[in-house]
């Protein structure tokens, strides 16, 4: 058919080969990579650690965005995966593992296993029930950690020996920062690619119309479980990185308010949008930091500002930018 020839190219070939959207991730990456080199000149060393923390949280938020934004699964237990990762890393260190890569790999695996097990149960439910059951699993973990004497129970547990990064050791004082940045960038790239892959399309189809997807022949449950497990793995990795970052773990990592904060950050940034998670994390942490400098009662204005954002950008801040670009 000549018709198909006429239509196919515009649909297969990306319309925009070269534009701001293509350079943006690299520009952001370069900017972030320069932080440890520039900050000390202005006496802002503190902010190297601050940004490193944000990058780690961005990994967790991005993984949540995959199941929440692409998959439509409103989970309230994501901090549980982060906590599992953090405690897994600590357990490995305690068992004599000295390599950061091994500890983080263990964190990733632990997050995946925990997500697969809890997902297998919780994904049989939907909506509010799903939210409650993911919350319940995370709370179980929280209380388990509180009662774990070996790892300090309620008081938490310090990691006193710094982990080895292998041949990267001693390259630069801030090498851990760049490792975190590289991992965060990798996770961002993975999530971006996932969104345009077969799996991503299937996942978003399930979000939009689960019954129809089953009637189209999709193994809905397996697809959701795969997404849930992958997200759990990445959140576990974030947990392992967080344990290294803080040189400390405690049950408060898994408190349900942490899960809620992740949820708020993703919704704020724009769920189901490429930049949603990192943008939400950046806005949340920057606002909190600025307000903390000025007032002890920073929760109040933060809450008000978030309300404002919800009214002005109900689909998230990232959606605002997309619309503006569409008009331009």
């Amino acid at each position: 058919m000549t018709q198909s020839e006429r239509i196919a190219p515009s649909a297969t070939v990306p319309a925009r080969r070269f534009d701001a959207a293509g350079i943006l991730p690299w520009a952001v990456f370069a900017l972030l990579a320069a932080v440890p080199l520039i900050a000390p000149h202005f006496g802002l060393e503190y902010y190297v650690g601050f940004v490193r923390h944000m990058l780690i949280v961005a990994i967790a938020a991005t993984s949540l965005n995959v199941i929440l934004g692409y998959g439509g699964m409103v989970a309230l237990g994501h901090a549980g995966f982060v906590g599992v990762g953090a405690y897994a890393a600590v357990a490995l260190v305690e068992a004599g593992v000295g390599s950061a890569w091994l500890a983080w790999g263990g964190a990733l695996a632990a997050g995946a296993v925990f997500a697969a097990l809890t997902g297998a149960v919780s994904l049989r439910t939907r909506g509010v029930y799903f939210l409650m059951i993911t919350l319940a699993f995370a709370q179980m973990l929280y209380y388990l950690a509180v009662s774990l004497r070996t790892y300090g129970g309620d008081d938490g547990y310090g990691l006193y020996t710094p982990l080895s990064l292998g041949w990267l050791d001693g390259v630069h004082g801030d090498v851990f920062y760049w490792v975190v940045l590289a991992l965060a960038a990798l996770v961002f790239a993975l999530a971006s690619r996932l969104a345009v892959s077969r799996f991503g399309h299937a996942l978003m189809g399930i979000r939009d119309n689960e019954t129809r997807m089953a009637a189209l022949g999709y193994p809905v449950y397996r697809i959701k479980l795969a997404a849930f497990t992958g997200a759990g793995a990445l959140a576990g990795l974030a947990g392992g990185l967080l344990a290294s970052h803080n040189a400390f773990v405690s049950p408060s990592l898994m408190h349900w308010t942490e899960s809620a904060t992740l949820l708020v950050m993703v919704v704020l940034g724009g769920r189901g949008r490429r930049w949603g998670a990192p943008l939400g994390v950046a806005i949340w942490y920057t606002l909190a930091e600025v307000l903390k400098i000025n007032t002890e009662y920073w929760h109040w204005p933060l809450g008000l500002m978030l309300l404002l954002v919800v009214f002005l950008a109900p689909r998230g801040v990232a959606a605002l930018f997309e619309r503006r670009r569409g008009e331009g």
Binding site: M1, Q3, S4, I7, A8, A11, T12, P14, L190, R193, L194, V196, S197, R198, F199, G200, H201, A202, G205, D208, N209, T211, R212, A214, A215, L216, G217, Y218, P219, V220, I223, A226
Partner: protein, 252 residues
């Protein structure tokens, strides 16, 4: 009902509490046949469709398609076995374009969906399948329209196209003419007539003109039971059928 029937439902039972919604229903569809299922509101037609497609679990009975037992299979496995369906209430992906809808349907039946890193837009075969589906239902001119903004009749055609992507051997059409004007109904009748060559069809429909025009065989459902089954003339002349269903509106 010979053993060689393409699709066979035997003794289907569904209870909702004390209500026997499906009362030992036997149904067969032959290859190349359009088998219409009619019955008054509340007769259990939609329940039967959901039992056959697997959205509701059976309380008794068995199903087979082309010799393959479907009884214990999940809905998506039944689709893989060759049984595809449309929905009474149009069920398309309203926020996506027609093309994206068709690509999603095509993807389900061409390779694994567990591919995480390669761009789907690079797959030419999916695109070809999607375009062919659009041609079949006459939507090739609307590929880049947002599905939810299409007129009702076009959305119903898209719904049919989504079901066709499975290359079904039995297609369940649940009231395809529902809510359509005469113009759209005519087009849908023409489409169903065209599909006869590709697949056997179980057609649930209220529009009697369409049913009598299309069906090779008609079964009448009443209170969850099959009241009568036969060709169009037999059903038209069946006294009990006239009493429960066609009523005073019988056209002869």
């Amino acid at each position: 009902m010979s053993a060689a029937s393409l699709f066979q439902a035997r003794g289907l039972v569904k209870r909702f509490g004390g209500l026997l919604a499906t009362d030992h229903v036997d149904l067969a569809v032959e290859k190349g046949e359009i088998h219409a299922l009619i019955g008054p509101n509340g007769a259990g037609k939609s329940t039967l469709v959901n039992l056959i497609s697997g959205l509701l679990p059976l309380d008794g009975g068995s199903l087979s398609l082309d010799g393959v037992e479907l009884t214990g299979l999940a809905p998506h496995q039944r689709v893989r076995a060759g049984l595809s369906r449309c929905f009474q209430v149009t069920s398309v992906f309203g926020h996506d374009t027609v093309l994206d809808n068709l690509l999603l349907a095509a993807q389900a039946h061409a390779g694994s969906s567990f591919r995480f890193l390669s761009r789907r837009s690079a797959e030419k075969e999916l695109m070809d399948t999607a375009l062919a589906l659009a041609e079949t239902v006459d939507l090739a001119g609307a590929l880049h329209r947002i599905a939810g903004t299409l007129p009702h009749g076009a959305q119903r055609k898209l719904d049919v196209a989504l079901a066709l992507a499975a290359r079904p051997r039995l297609l369940l059409l649940d009231e395809p003419m529902a809510g359509m004007g005469p113009e759209d109904s005519l087009q849908m009748v023409a489409l169903i007539e065209k599909l006869r060559a590709q697949t056997a069809i179980l057609l649930i429909e209220h529009d009697m003109d369409a049913v009598f025009q299309l069906a090779d065989r008609v079964s009448v459902l009443d209170y969850g039971r099959v009241l009568a089954s036969g060709d169009v003339d037999y059903i038209k002349g069946h006294p009990e059928v006239q009493a429960v269903y066609l009523g005073t509106d019988t056209e002869t």
